[in-house]
């Protein structure tokens, strides 16, 4: 996929494929019933979160479990702005800005940490943010949550609006991911993943690149959170600062293939399909099934679907030597 960096990014085949997907998505939106429309919107939201997470967790290789923190910040920023009478589009822009600032602050603090410490730090941020949202009643309405004005129009029109808005966000995020993957910036991120010290030695501005990736990722996740908040018109801390979201998103990306361009999209699609087809029938075993999926992906396919079916070269490259597979055997 990234074998030849000089190859043009935009080829006729890819344009045709993109137009085809866009056509299918739009046609689906106008013809689907309410349930399918909602599932399609959920899928789009998951795809945005996965693509955004992939920039930090995939390209850069930093195990971030902070997705829910950005999602919640975006949802609350957007919701609070809308409640203050700010128009929808401006509220979303405000939420994106809030997410970017939050990411800049967090990144400057947490990106000095590596491995386990970074993972623990990002989880702690989710917990802290949820408690802050629960207890800062003056701003967030506390544990009761806040209501957000519902858009004018019939439920169906509103549904289609949010469906298209979310898919537009998918398109933008996907284009950005592809651009990053083929840019010098993306190359820096991959260097950081492989060996941070070496990346520093060859003259990559490591900390700046890490912060930039974190901010882009945080901005996109917050934006998705704001769109979600406007759509559901009611948010509460335990819903938007949900640690499960922080683990679902990496699991979906891993299913598709972390660090690839298409992986997050494919992972999100399969995961949401599985959820809609299987989980709805086992409501009491929701998290157990999620657990089984995670375990199965890790055991059977840690490199992700995209790589498994894409290049033979990859499997040779990552084939584990016996000394690495068993417990340090």
């Amino acid at each position: 996929m990234m074998a030849d960096p000089t190859a043009p990014i935009i080829t006729p085949t890819r344009v045709a494929a993109a137009l085809l997907v866009a056509g299918v998505v739009i046609a689906f939106g106008f013809s689907a019933n309410n349930y399918l429309l909602q599932a399609g919107t959920t899928l789009a939201m998951s795809a945005v979160l996965c693509l955004a997470w992939n920039i930090v967790g995939g390209f850069m290789g930093y195990p971030s479990f902070g997705t829910a923190a950005f999602f919640g910040v975006g949802a609350y920023a957007g919701g609070i702005l809308q409640d203050a009478g700010v128009p929808l589009a401006l509220a979303w822009i405000g939420a994106a800005a809030a997410g970017a600032m939050f990411a800049a602050f967090l990144g400057s603090v947490l990106l000095g940490l590596r491995g386990h410490y970074f993972a623990i730090g990002t989880i702690a941020v989710v917990e802290v943010m949820r408690e802050v949202a629960n207890n800062w009643e003056g701003l967030t309405g506390g544990a009761i949550g806040i209501n957000i004005p519902i858009l004018a129009g019939s439920p169906r029109e509103v549904g289609i609006f949010f469906y298209l808005a979310m898919w537009a966000l998918v398109a933008a995020t996907f284009a950005l991911t592809a651009a990053i993957a083929h840019s010098k910036f993306g190359f820096s991120l991959r260097c950081i993943r492989q060996n941070e010290s070496a990346a520093h030695m060859v003259g990559i501005a490591v900390f700046r690149a890490k912060c930039a990736a974190f901010i882009i990722s945080g901005l996109l996740i917050s934006l998705a959170g704001a769109v979600y908040a406007s759509m559901v018109a009611f948010i509460e801390p335990k819903d938007v600062f949900n640690i499960l979201l922080s683990i679902e998103v990496p699991a979906m990306v891993m299913l598709g293939g972390a660090g690839t361009i298409l992986g997050p999209l494919i992972g999100a699609t399969i995961y949401i399909l599985l959820r809609e087809l299987v989980w709805v029938n086992f409501i009491n075993f929701h998290s157990a099934i999620l657990g089984i999926i995670i375990i199965a992906v890790i055991y059977l396919m840690p490199e992700g679907l995209v790589r498994r079916f894409h290049a033979q070269a990859w499997s040779k490259l990552t084939k584990r030597s016996p000394s690495q597979s068993g417990a340090g055997s």
Binding site: A119, G291, P302, G328
Partner: protein
């Protein structure tokens, strides 16, 4: 009044130390973050509660039975579910234990329901210099401290303890010396699980326990281990008591609803300023 807060802080802090020490040991030796730790605590608490209430066994014996069962459970989980991936990157092992935890926790909610249960022991309380102490909680504290101390002693003086420390220092070299590393990993995981169960048994005398609390216990283990230094037994003791005191006094200063947040905020601060923890990480205990 202040004395009462200090005593309460130390009481709960000792339980926290016991809760965190297993988590810390597993991190130190296997270098994985065990997300199941909170669920292990809850499971240990349930075994203690059930044995006490249905079989009428003394709570101390019940807690020890819980420890035994959980040791075997932890041993088997590591041997058959985690061991193959123990050297995989942190992201993989973390996500794996998270997946296992989702499964375990869901099973516990189905089996025990989410209704909180507690171990009510009518042993009365004593008052020393105006500080009131419940005998049951005092007993829980003693159990927690004795087990933590015993673990520390065993790590330094028993053959298996020294093997664990050797694997921790360098598992390649340990293998060359004839130590069966996989076995040490599994035993270490079993011991960590056992300590979680002991902490759970002790916790049951203080808090009503429900499977929904596993995330809270895991969060406490995170905070304590980072405060004291990930991977060290004395660090867990210092971190546990520090957190107990912090929560006790944080409740006065900020109000009790903020106590979790204060702990996590302090943890992020320590992570950034002094990632090796308050006690440092020089020893291999």
């Amino acid at each position: 009044m202040i004395a009462q807060y200090i005593v309460n802080g130390i009481l709960i802090g000792s339980l926290y130390a016991c809760l965190a020490v297993g988590f810390s040991l597993i991190y130190g030796v296997l270098s994985i973050i065990n997300v199941m730790h909170g669920s292990f605590v809850v499971l240990g608490a349930y075994i203690t509660i059930y044995c006490t209430e249905y079989f009428g066994i003394s709570p101390l014996i019940a807690a020890l039975i819980g420890c035994g069962i959980m040791f075997v459970f932890g041993f088997l989980v590591q041997r058959y579910l985690i061991n193959d991936l123990v050297t995989a990157p942190i992201f993989i092992t973390f996500t794996l234990t998270f997946g296992l935890d989702l499964l375990l926790n869901n099973a516990m909610i189905q089996a025990f329901t989410a209704t909180p249960r507690s171990l009510t022991l009518e042993y009365g309380s004593i008052t020393i210099l105006g500080v009131s102490l419940s005998i049951a909680r005092l007993g829980a504290m003693v159990l927690a401290l004795v087990l933590t101390g015993l673990l520390y002693w065993l790590l330094r003086h028993s053959q298996m303890g020294r093997a664990i420390i050797a694997v921790r220092m360098d598992h390649h070299a340990a293998r060359l010396l004839g130590i069966r590393v996989e076995r040490v990993y599994a035993i270490t995981f079993g011991i960590g699980t056992m300590m979680a169960a002991a902490a759970g048994g002790a916790m049951a005398t203080v808090f009503p326990i429900t499977p929904l609390l596993s995330g809270v216990f895991l969060g406490k283990a995170f905070v304590i281990c980072v405060l004291g230094g990930l991977g060290s037994v004395p660090g867990a003791l210092v971190g546990g008591i520090a957190l107990g005191l912090l929560e006790s006094f944080g409740a006065i200063v900020f109000g009790s609803q903020w106590s979790t947040t204060v702990g996590f905020a302090l943890m992020i601060l320590v992570l950034v300023v002094r990632p090796s923890g308050l006690v440092g990480r020089k020893g291999f205990e």
